[in-house]
Symmetry: C5
Subunit: 267 residues, 5 copies
Amino acid sequence: MSTQKEIEKAIAKLSTNGKALYLAQDQGLEHAADVELTGESSNPDYVFNIAEKGEIDAFICQKGLAEKYGGSYKVPIILKVNGKTILTPKDDPYSQITCSVRRAVELGAKAIGFTNFVGSKYQSQIFDDFRKIQEEAHDFGLPVTSWMYPRGEAIKDEKASGILQHSARVGLELGADMLKMSYNGNQEDMKKQIKFGGKAKMLMAGGAKTKNTKEFLQQIKEVDEAGAFGFAIGRNIWLHDKPVAVTKAIRDIQNGKDVYTALKRLE
Amino acid sequence: MSTQKEIEKAIAKLSTNGKALYLAQDQGLEHAADVELTGESSNPDYVFNIAEKGEIDAFICQKGLAEKYGGSYKVPIILKVNGKTILTPKDDPYSQITCSVRRAVELGAKAIGFTNFVGSKYQSQIFDDFRKIQEEAHDFGLPVTSWMYPRGEAIKDEKASGILQHSARVGLELGADMLKMSYNGNQEDMKKQIKFGGKAKMLMAGGAKTKNTKEFLQQIKEVDEAGAFGFAIGRNIWLHDKPVAVTKAIRDIQNGKDVYTALKRLE
Amino acid sequence: MSTQKEIEKAIAKLSTNGKALYLAQDQGLEHAADVELTGESSNPDYVFNIAEKGEIDAFICQKGLAEKYGGSYKVPIILKVNGKTILTPKDDPYSQITCSVRRAVELGAKAIGFTNFVGSKYQSQIFDDFRKIQEEAHDFGLPVTSWMYPRGEAIKDEKASGILQHSARVGLELGADMLKMSYNGNQEDMKKQIKFGGKAKMLMAGGAKTKNTKEFLQQIKEVDEAGAFGFAIGRNIWLHDKPVAVTKAIRDIQNGKDVYTALKRLE
Amino acid sequence: MSTQKEIEKAIAKLSTNGKALYLAQDQGLEHAADVELTGESSNPDYVFNIAEKGEIDAFICQKGLAEKYGGSYKVPIILKVNGKTILTPKDDPYSQITCSVRRAVELGAKAIGFTNFVGSKYQSQIFDDFRKIQEEAHDFGLPVTSWMYPRGEAIKDEKASGILQHSARVGLELGADMLKMSYNGNQEDMKKQIKFGGKAKMLMAGGAKTKNTKEFLQQIKEVDEAGAFGFAIGRNIWLHDKPVAVTKAIRDIQNGKDVYTALKRLE
Amino acid sequence: MSTQKEIEKAIAKLSTNGKALYLAQDQGLEHAADVELTGESSNPDYVFNIAEKGEIDAFICQKGLAEKYGGSYKVPIILKVNGKTILTPKDDPYSQITCSVRRAVELGAKAIGFTNFVGSKYQSQIFDDFRKIQEEAHDFGLPVTSWMYPRGEAIKDEKASGILQHSARVGLELGADMLKMSYNGNQEDMKKQIKFGGKAKMLMAGGAKTKNTKEFLQQIKEVDEAGAFGFAIGRNIWLHDKPVAVTKAIRDIQNGKDVYTALKRLE
């Protein structure tokens, strides 16, 4: 078992000046690869290169990319250890474990990623998976980032503030070290999410590509100012035509710059 | 395996003059965190502080709070090792294991908490979980507190005296060391519950916040006089504006004071 | 693994002159404790005392009683390692494992008790449990007593002679050492049950309390004369106002006395 | 792991001049014991005696008989490690594992028996059980005999030649060493079954008692001439009034005698 | 764990000049053996002989054939470790594990084969099986070939280009080293499949026997030119009357010859 101090030290290594920026790509498994991974983004080397050259603290991916490409790059990896595809029949969601913690450790991962679908009818199975993953990760000294996503028929509004606060607290009580959660567009709600997450650090999930970069960076600004620990972004970076510049713009905002200053990175 | 004497000694350390008072907070997982954990109560530091300053023998919480906050406080922890959320679809209840006994031991827990939903259609799975948890806890010398809650479609009246007596006896036969149970408001029924629990010690569950403190303390008095070992209270302490005083008032009653004397703690 | 000779020796220690009489109490788990355990019978010390003072070869109980009370008495324990409650929704029956064989051994148990509900739609799970329990018990040298109870929607008549014969044979083929079975009131049928049980020794289950002791002892006489190895009795002993005398009366019959002579024990 | 040569040697020890004859009795578990095990056949000693005195290469039985009776006889045992009863609700069939391979080895078994219900809706579970049993058996050097029985709603004709050929091939590909299969009465079909079974040796299953011994021996002759490795027979031996003579008659046919010559054994 | 370099070396040994050609036969388990394995093809020795004499890099088969026939031939084996039959009730497909990785290693297998039915309602169970198999195979240094077959009610068109691209990417992200996939007849689609498979090498699955050899070899040419790593062919080889010549013709095409030149092998 790692102490809370050791976990905090490990998280500190995955951040810059107390703020984190992670590049993520597991959409080839989760979504329709042919639809999401357009252009060069279907080439893992292209994306790993962005992670290495951009202002990125870690790259989040599934086992296969870590095994086949990870060894060629110096970027720290947060190994996502569960997942599903969009192909399966519609039902409440469940993400199957796709990589053992032991293998993640052997691959040199610096943290573990795991999706908790709070409110899914498979919640018991999900919590059971999470318990084992979280405890084994801490046995190896790895922090655990939990996607806290309220989902399923029992969840009427995935973006309701109360549901998001409850989900953040669930992540805290279950032992997550970082929480990757959606931003519902209301800064006050994000502050509450962060409060209910307590010592579990809040990461904003990037979501679908926004229409323009300014809109995206304004979200980043709002969430950063609300007190978030950082961001885990995929499509808004690797689908952008200037992906490395986007990472620098986000970091500018995390360093206190305003959106207009940050946007200059993209000129 | 621990002997019954060793378990009794471990319980004695979690009580004062043969009576126990535990502070509990897992409502952030179990209930809607945003609704239940109002005001400062959503801050685990606030609640741990009450536990440390009040007349509390142990604090009951989930793994996440124990990991991230427990190390900063001297209060003994009873680790609640299963749980569920209010978000999942309505059905007979089942609480998933959320912490291994090994991890609870590593975190320094002094006892284990576990919810048995007697009468649930998931009772077989629940009993299976309990068997493993109970035996492993005793292997490590930790007493086991079992929430004995009759629940589910097959239970017509959760507060029926017969059901409560049967539930207490089930806890005893399955090997629980302490039983956390509801008080149905009838002191004679509580005496019967206690009788059927035998050498498994009875703790009254606090339940929702009562309208006024006097009403709450009168319940405490009735249950203490019925012969209960103690109390496991959450909302009636940490939602109260004088939480430390409430703990002292409860202890007064456990020490034989009457309700009016105890109420002076709150003036 | 124990040899058949070793198992037979272990059974011999749990009998007197080749006949066995066991006191049983798990009705507080299985049935409505408040209804069945009337008067002093809800106090485990009361029942253990009967076992110690009466003509009893062993006491059959669940883990909780063995842990919390067993250490204070010298009576050998047959640990019942599975069970259920009457509270769960009506369905074909399944008894969950409630105690590991390892723990039973650590508690000093001299044999294992297990319920096989033959014909239940959960029969596969039950047989799987039994296989593991039976083999582990024999690894530790403990004989296994199997409740062979035909139950479930597929069983039209639980007392039909053919069903009882088949059930006895199932117990034998699965590896039970003793069979605890109902007596359907027909002595010839009991003889057939015993024949089909082969080297698995037959114990009559006591069942509900009979109206009068004479009627009960006549059953005992019929079954003993049919060639049964012995009796596992609960309510007809500990609900009786002269429980120790009842045990002596049963033993008289096992020693060849007639019912009228045995009844004198109760005067 | 055993090599194919070692397995073939082990099979050779369970045969006579390259032909096998096994006596089987698990009908007391599988069928209605009271209906099938008539007369002396319900007494395992009676049946073991036939095995010992008759021309039998091995006796096939469940764990309970091996434990309680097997030690008294010199006949090699093929331990049947899964089974079911006729009592459970009608559904596609599944035979639960009833004995571990380790225990079979400890009991001195010389081979393992296992029922594969091909086409059952429980086929996945059955194949999973078989895989583990087959591999563990080979770890201990024991050959595996697989009952290859097409069964379930998806099987329209259990005796269709194509289904039987496919079933034989399934047994071969899954790793069975011997196949116990039904004879559909057509010798050409049996030749095809044998061809599709490849190096997995074919045993004819005896089935229900035939009306007269001549009819039974004619089947034996047809199947032996088709190239079968041998026979696994139960009721047609131990329900016969001259069981030892029947075994000699079968052996005569395996040695090339005609049916009329073999029938003289029964005069 | 093996490094990516070690896995690539192991794959190199299973190919010739960077191109692979595998002979496969598990149709006796998967399909109706009596219908598919016509003529001599039902005799495993016949098929192993083709593998040994033809231009084959490895033979793909189930455990049973590897155990009983593999030791007599020098052809490397890719052990297919899961499978199902056509006999089970119609439903979304699931292939049960039929051989452990440990046993595959003991049998001298040089790689593992596994079917992933992407989109099946059993996808979670399939991914769970795959994770364990893939990790254990890499622990032993064995590459993993994954059949990436979109199947089930949720898949409207198994040959849709988008579905095939997504499936290829799923295989890559889950950690497959080679992907065995269908060719939908459109060379541009195959190029995309190969692109989305990334460093997971593409093998074309042979499928049903084509009407004439020319048509078959034209497919081979198209797929080879699209950049595929190789081919895993069954019926189009062992049902052909000149099976060894077919393997040489395929190899000719892999070596850059045109279809007409390759066809001369069959004259």
